[in-house]
């Protein structure tokens, strides 16, 4: 008689062994999925979009985060605000997901009308005694870090977002994300649990065999390797690479571009890691030939040799390069389906066909994401198989996954599971 389907979540957390992938149920069970949404998407800071998506007063962007929907907007005073996309009357969605331009937020159902501040301005049929003041749209806590919008859907927001801001503000400053524009956006729904999508992103052990396009500009050695496995020749190449990398990092720092690795991935609420990666080959950008895709550089950039400012969050990965940026939001849809939304940013004045070619700009990460989507799919199928048991992470190239799994279990426990 089987009982694994009904064991409490806490016992699954107990089963997790250090250095190993998670027990199956944590990837596959619907009750764990609901708990994940609650803990990691409602009680932690999540990355949801960019200031540049609402550049002008009256610009609004409705963003669905599973069953939750929020509205990112720019108020008449040029300030960013975020409110819940739920009318305070009978709950109807004010806006469909996507962008629009409005002067006020009007519910299509009964025309309850809200200011961009969220205040209820007008509620027909409710009578003179109706108190509008307690019926504002619910506000959402947010932080703009260098133009990237993070929200926390709960009232108690983890304080350690401050460290992310402190680290990333100076790193992002030269790229001036507020003056970028989304040149392209692609949604991929991966047929796997969101944690498998995140694990997949946190290692490059799978890169050489799966990502031919990315490997033109990406150096998988930078994500760990087994020194004993190298031939003498390869070892010499690796040593040369790391010496060069150290020297380059030193130079970049000296020139005022923070480049050292900073990671906050254990014993914290807000999980992130950043470093300035070297770009291989031509050294400029993550394109098919590693040269820049856009001739109009981002922000105050005057050079293309500053590598790739790489930033991970628990629902995001990002690459900031001289000529463009690639920024990814991850949203769980069910235990076995995950939305991966990729945006390519260029300078707001860059013109397609003049300053950049869209194919060149997007090709590497379109291919890479499709390849990853397939890997997440076969991983989810495998962990759903009764034959699966947690396997060992590589101590060299999967340390970040061990950290992620450990953080995951810790945060679940911190929220009472």
């Amino acid at each position: 008689m089987l009982n694994s389907f009904s064991s409490p979540i806490s016992s699954l957390l107990d089963q997790r062994a250090a250095g190993h992938s998670l027990p199956a149920g944590l990837y596959t069970r619907e009750d764990v999925f609901k708990a994940d949404l609650d803990v990691f998407f409602h009680h932690h800071w999540i990355y949801v979009g960019l200031e540049c998506e609402v550049p002008e007063p009256g610009d609004v962007m409705a963003i669905d985060i599973g069953a939750t929907s929020i509205i990112l907007l720019r108020d008449d005073d040029q300030q960013i605000r975020v409110v819940r996309n739920v009318c305070r009357h009978r709950g109807a969605r004010l806006l469909e997901a996507g962008p629009s331009i409005v002067s006020k937020l009007v519910c299509p159902y009964h025309q309850w009308t809200y200011e961009l501040s969220g205040e209820l301005a007008h509620a027909p049929h409710m009578g003179q005694d109706f108190d509008k003041s307690c019926r504002s749209l619910k506000p959402v806590q947010f932080r703009s870090i260098g133009g990237m919008i993070y929200v926390c859907l709960s009232d108690e927001a983890p304080a350690d977002i401050d460290r992310l801001a402190e680290v990333m503000e100076p790193r992002l400053q030269p790229y001036d994300l507020r003056n970028t524009r989304i040149a392209h956006q692609v949604d991929v729904i991966e047929e796997g649990n969101w944690k498998l999508a995140m694990e997949n992103n946190r290692e490059c052990y799978h890169c050489s065999a799966n990502h031919p396009e990315l490997c033109v500009s990406f150096i998988d050695l930078d994500f760990g390797f087994d020194p004993d496995s190298l031939t003498a020749e390869d070892r010499a190449i690796a040593e040369e690479h790391f010496a060069m990398y150290a020297e380059r990092t030193r130079q970049w720092e000296e020139e005022g571009f923070p480049s050292q690795t900073v990671e906050q991935t254990r014993d914290c609420a807000t999980n992130f890691r950043t470093q300035r990666l070297i770009i291989a080959g031509a050294g400029e950008s993550q394109t098919e030939d590693a040269t820049a895709a856009s001739s109009k550089l981002l922000g105050s950039m005057t050079r293309k040799d500053l590598g790739d400012v790489h930033l991970w969050g628990h629902n995001a990965w990002n690459h900031f390069m001289g000529d463009h940026a690639v920024t990814v939001m991850v949203i769980p849809l069910s235990a076995d389906r995950t939305l991966v939304r990729t945006k390519w940013l260029v300078h707001k004045d860059a013109v397609e066909g003049v300053d950049y070619d869209l194919h060149k700009l997007t090709h590497v990460w379109i291919e890479t994401t499709n390849q990853d989507s397939d890997l997440v799919r076969i991983s989810h199928k495998g962990v759903s198989d009764p034959a699966y048991e947690p396997g060992p992470y590589s101590p060299f190239s999967e340390k970040a996954l061990d950290d992620f799994a450990t953080w995951y279990v810790d945060r679940m426990r911190a929220h009472g599971y």
Copy 2:
């Protein structure tokens, strides 16, 4: 740690505040959906179809009500009967949903053969000792009220259907629904809970902004308004309208057409409301220009100025006019999907293209139903959002929703929840 997913249904019922929409879980949870089916669709009278769908002996109509299927039929003695569409052998469906003409009901699986009375006439391979008498098709309790078929799937049927019959028989008599014909039928599957579909139908607060076609003939003032919100000019118009309406009602009653509002929507099992509504403009029918769509009037009708006999049930809404009727059955399919089946009735001898134009007949309610479907969809999305909390009903134009929500909670409690 979240626990709202597992709270008992009774605690959701406790949470309901007077004057407010229902707690989210009552709209969204699968266990509540199952309870709703049990209480409101298996232990209350529901509207399922019309006598005119089976006009001749041997006419049968299989109707799916979620997982349940019933067969409405006319027996050789001209009597209507309703039986369960489940073979007494191994349970196979006897008929696919829809109409057919038969002399007996023969199961396609093993040819068990039933009389139209439901009696088992023949059961091959069962042997001489097999007692067929206890293997009749299960009968379904039904009432025909002016040609409208109501069934109760449980053995204990609420007695207060009598009041509906008493009120509606004389009102429906002149329309002679038994001698109508279905000119058109449309199924729409709305992406929302059945109670949101019913709430949407019980107010016209949303009409002016959402139903341009319907508002040609419908007068939303008749469904409530906030007197303080009117300008002096609009107030004068409203006063004139209500004086005219009162006078018209008096005249209609005097001429023998019952017209006063009757409602049984609280402290009852069988929930209904009827009134004779004025039709705006040309005053004849719910069409694009408010003139009659069919030149052949219903039943014994000789005039087109008798307004709209409006009838609500907890799974139905209906409009009976001089030239045609529109009748709607609502069947929940899951917590978030609801079938809305609309039928347009004309005189049984009315000929398409001669007596009526199909587009003119159906246009207003096709458009209105599609618009409502969209409103139900955005309502369901909103009440599924963790940010939703029950909101206040308008005391002027949403009183019927407060009654419905109150009745809903009372009936759930009456059935032990």
Copy 3:
């Protein structure tokens, strides 16, 4: 207040009455579905494929059994092996379902590389201290019975598979299934519970009204009939048939072809039944005119008049004839969806268009399976209806269903339900 949705599975088993179909929940509930998978597909021997699907060393065939996937392969030493299709690293599927040819099994994710024996040969990035010996692919217990592959996914495999082997080896020997080839394969997903698919297969009470193509060669009398229901004339025909059948069986046995019925369908773990059936009409094969579809006979066959060696298992049905065989695997996908995979086998050297016509070979069972799929669909709809209650099996032609239902309940109890 309803509570049938949450009653324990054991109480459903208690409710089962002898001679009657199962209580509804055993066909429809998701928890029962999971229990069924566990008991009948993970703890019993199931039929999954054929040796002839992997004829050469390096041939592999990945077979999905619900969430489980296994790899049937032929090793370099010509031996058949079966391993779980789950990488021992992070669980990814090694192979998509279907056939391929490999020298080693390489996980596409991180190139963990396994010998065809299942041994882990290479695990990059894992370091010198990594113990590969405990990371072999998990082996699956299997038995090849006359070239048919049965597996047991649990460690404790029922011993009474021995009886199946003992009975079937000599019966299958002349057909030499190891030297056949799959001429055609069709997957049908039936919209019903797997037990309804099996019940449907275990009686021919439904054949005459539903399977015109099959009834050319199939004699439904052989599956039971009610003697009292026959006319004097039909009774004479039946008596003649059974006398002829007895004589034919005696002859076949005398000529060395085991033909007597053997059944092990109660008080056992491994459920099977076999008999040599007469083929009607031309007497050769299950085709539209009952003549052989392939002029190249199977194995050592020199004659076409040896009837149909019929074999049932709890997830299979099979027909072995002189010129070809039809073999069917049944895999539950959910409580209400079941995969039925049919394979048509011919001599490995038979050439399409020369030795056999594909339409003639496949027509009868393609039609029959589609007809059965529809019957399973209407059965599942019916048993899902609240009006369903278990009905009586025919004592003449549904005895095998009573045995199956009894065995089902016994096996569930034997596994603690």
